[in-house]
């Protein structure tokens, strides 16, 4: 994996189910190419404090249907720029899931996780293994399709297509 860190040890910020993209980045802030503007308003309508407490490398954890709603790629971009290194959810809305992989933000689906706020996690991205060091539980994430592993491995779809010029399954 070129651009993506494969071993991550960091703290979990935990939120609930059905976090929609309006809550990840409100529509009024999306019309920009300035990633810092996006990061300044990330999760603003869900937790106005998040932007102040998130540290580089932190892990965002959520329940089901994370990233539902709009197709705005600004949602994973805002999370990535704010410092989030990986998102774990019970499951993801499909456009968010593709967008995150495409911009090089790792996403892990763990249907039965019970990760609590503030937990220390140790993640092996290559194997999809998440160790909850606080609760002493180990989870295995759903395996990505090979094409997504390859896109993420290049750091995103821009790098993937720059290198290969076309898709290969």
């Amino acid at each position: 994996m070129s651009d993506v860190q494969t071993n991550i040890k960091a703290k979990a910020h935990v939120y609930g189910d059905h976090i929609d993209t309006d809550r990840i980045i409100p529509g009024k802030y999306t019309k920009t190419l300035d990633m810092t503007t996006l990061a300044n308003h990330v999760l603003e309508d869900l937790d106005p404090n998040f932007n102040k407490i998130v540290q580089q490398g932190d892990i965002l954890v959520a329940g089901i249907n994370f990233g539902c709603g709009s197709s705005r790629e600004q949602a994973p971009l805002a999370l990535k720029k704010s410092g989030v290194s990986v998102v774990i959810a019970k499951d993801f809305a499909r456009i968010f899931f593709r967008n995150a992989i495409n911009i090089g933000l790792p996403v892990l689906e763990i249907a039965d996780h019970n990760i609590q706020k503030g937990a220390e996690l140790n993640i092996d991205l290559k194997e999809g293994i998440v160790k909850d060091l606080t609760a002493r539980v180990t989870y295995t994430a759903t395996k990505l399709p090979d094409i997504m592993i390859n896109i993420l491995g290049e750091g995103g779809l821009v790098n993937y297509l720059t290198k290969y010029g076309d898709y290969s399954l």
Binding site: D22, P26, G27, K31, I95, N102, I147
Partner: protein, 411 residues
Amino acid sequence: MGQTISEKIISNHVGKKVYAGELVVSEVDGCMASDTTGPLTIKAFHEMGGKKVFNSDKCALIIDHAAPSPNERIANLHKMMRDFAKEQGMRLFEIGEGICHQVMVENSYVKPGDIFIGADSHTPTYGALNAFACGVGSTDLAATMMTGKIWLKVPQTIQINCSGKLQDGVTAKDLILFLVGKVTVSGATYQAIEFTGEAFEGLSLASRMTIANMSSEMGAKTGIVHPKGLELDYDFEAIAPDADANYIKTFDFDVSGLEPQVSAPESPDNVHNISNYEGTKINYAFIGTCCNGRLEDLDIAAEILKGRKIHPDVRMVIAPASQSVLLDAISNGTMSALIEAGASLITSGCGPCVGTHQGVPADGEVVISAANRNFRGRMGNPNSNIYLGAPSTVAASALEGQIVNPKKYLV
């Protein structure tokens, strides 16, 4: 083995029979981006080495989400889109020409049997046309513009079968709200939906677009209305599912007794019979969007409002889905009926639905909207509440200053 509509359309594109679960790389018949997703698409296109789009007749850009531009930052993003379209020789739909999904259908960018990729989550709207249409983000779209292709997992399909005819005064919006309430906002994630049965067969193209549009509110990859009863002004080959197609799930509903539906804050699947919310005071009524800004939507509102005045404590905003809809609504008298009743007309486009400008609600205000989403903060203010209903419900509620069942004005 029999195939669903999605499996058939994808098979036709990849030159072999494929079924749910298979990964494919398919050529696409068209693609588009709006001013929310377009600038990032253009940036990614250049970054991945894109020089020319794969086919300039099959790619389009639409300025609809913040049109006309509300500030200099967005004005510059719009200019970036205009410059790119000119350089590529592709069509750019200007401010006021309409909402992306409406102009794609009106201008035949998408046809029955097509695979269409749009950088907007409501791209499944074209399932009304018997097409396989998926929403993606900006980088995926940049890749499609460059290669003419998309990678896809052939989706499993949920069949939603609705028997019975809708009662007078009950519309396609009520039906799809009811279905979103039953299936839930994550009930069709990664899957395709096929809408089938008597309740859909008599629906106009506009109503079918309302149905397919809200597939995305159930998390679906695409939502396709069975072509039975579909009428277009050109010849087409309809793609129907095989009798022995394999569905992951089938829902059966008799909708002949359905009453108007309302989705309450703050999730589109928080849907109940309108009687649960009658009497809820409202401040703001909005009719428009890719869900319900078409001529039949404005016509039914005008039927209710003609010769009457909206409640003095309510303001009402109308955003026709396209310039063509606006012109039709002017010719048939609908637009004057709405404006004489006290409604305010804004530029055809997404308008207040995406919370950027053209009508942001104040703290504590309640909105009744014909849009498709009522997430917290959706219309630009997290301290307001949004109820979703049919255009008929929005118009009747605007008259009375509270949520009311529109049937008494219609039947």
